[in-house]
């Protein structure tokens, strides 16, 4: 087994963490979805170690991709864990643009203005 601080990934490991699932319960979570934990809702005793770590990581606002990197877990696994925690009301999700949609004109202009102001 790996010692603390070491990261040994194998195809089997994600599968165990997600209890055999390969698909999240909701398909609205994306790499750029912002996650925020509800501090007033402690996780049940049955919550797994990775779920607890994710919940703790999202004590303040963070994207799903960033949470995955900091937890040293694949994005696909964190998507499944986050999906469960959103379902149970322990995580709030602020989602990006839905898959079938594109940012509207107002948002594009906001992005444009933001980038220009960084020059």
């Amino acid at each position: 087994m790996s010692s603390p601080g070491e990261y040994h990934d194998s195809p089997l490991r994600p599968y165990v963490i997600t209890r055999g699932r390969s698909r999240p319960t909701r398909n609205t979570l994306r790499v750029d979805t912002l996650l925020l934990a509800d501090p007033d809702r402690p996780l049940p005793a049955s919550a797994g170690r990775q779920e607890r770590a994710l919940h703790r990581m999202c004590v303040r606002l963070l994207s799903l991709a960033e949470a995955a990197v900091h937890l040293e877990l694949p994005v696909s696994v964190v998507t499944i864990l986050a999906s469960d925690l959103v379902d149970s009301g322990h995580l709030q999700a602020r989602s990006g643009i839905p898959a079938a949609a594109r940012p509207d004109r107002e948002l594009l202009l906001e992005v444009l203005h933001g980038l220009r102001s960084l020059r």
Binding site: L62, H113, L115
Partner: protein, 201 residues
């Protein structure tokens, strides 16, 4: 766990809206350099185990002979105002990674295709694919390397067989302003593309 180094890890809680731009291109073309030039955080790297069929943990357990590969994706972050945050994802352009970046491109502002003029042929596949998709705006940024010999824009457009409406910009991925300008050209194009679509419908 929360150390001082993590102080700027988090976003302001006023941020409501994430948006994303994909930076695609061949290995070594400068995707991570560009992301790093613009990002407010040190670029982060995710690694996913993929099967030839798709990304993620799908059908991996107990299939040791399955042809799996690890794909790395670097990304960065720019908080644009107190409401909107932009994520920049650098993704490899090769055909076998399309499953991954096509998913990423969904809902994106657009795709910036980073091109090395010494290896133009590396960009053909990804440009073909983007033209087929049609629903994702994209722009071409030519990353300049010290031994790059200059191409005229017309020559480059012909070589890459680009549509007249596709923007082509010069860029130095190591330079923040230059990289921002390439992103600005893409978002300007996305805005015009949206207006044209709305006028046509």
């Amino acid at each position: 766990m929360v150390s001082e180094a993590c102080a700027d890890r988090y976003l302001p809680e006023t941020v409501q809206q994430p948006v994303k731009i994909l930076v695609v291109g061949a290995l070594g073309v400068g995707k991570t350099t560009l992301v790093g030039s613009v990002s407010e955080i040190r670029p982060l790297r995710t690694e996913e185990t993929m099967t030839e069929a798709g990304a993620g943990v799908d059908r991996l357990a107990g299939l040791p002979d399955k042809n799996t590969t690890t794909v790395a994706m670097d990304f960065g972050r720019v908080t644009l105002n107190d409401r909107v945050v932009l994520y920049l994802f650098g993704a490899p352009g090769q055909r076998r990674f399309w499953n991954m970046w096509e998913g990423l491109a969904e809902g994106a502002v657009g795709v910036l295709v980073l091109v090395d003029t010494r290896r133009l042929e590396d960009s053909f596949e990804v440009l073909d694919q983007l033209e087929l998709r049609a629903d994702t705006p994209f722009a071409v940024a030519v990353n300049h390397f010290p031994d790059t010999h200059p191409h005229g824009e017309e020559e480059l457009r012909r070589a890459l067989d680009l549509l007249p409406t596709t923007p082509v910009v010069d860029c130095d991925a190591r330079d923040r302003t230059s990289s921002l300008d390439a992103l600005i050209a893409l978002v300007e194009h996305a805005t015009e593309d949206l207006a044209a679509r709305e006028a046509a419908s």
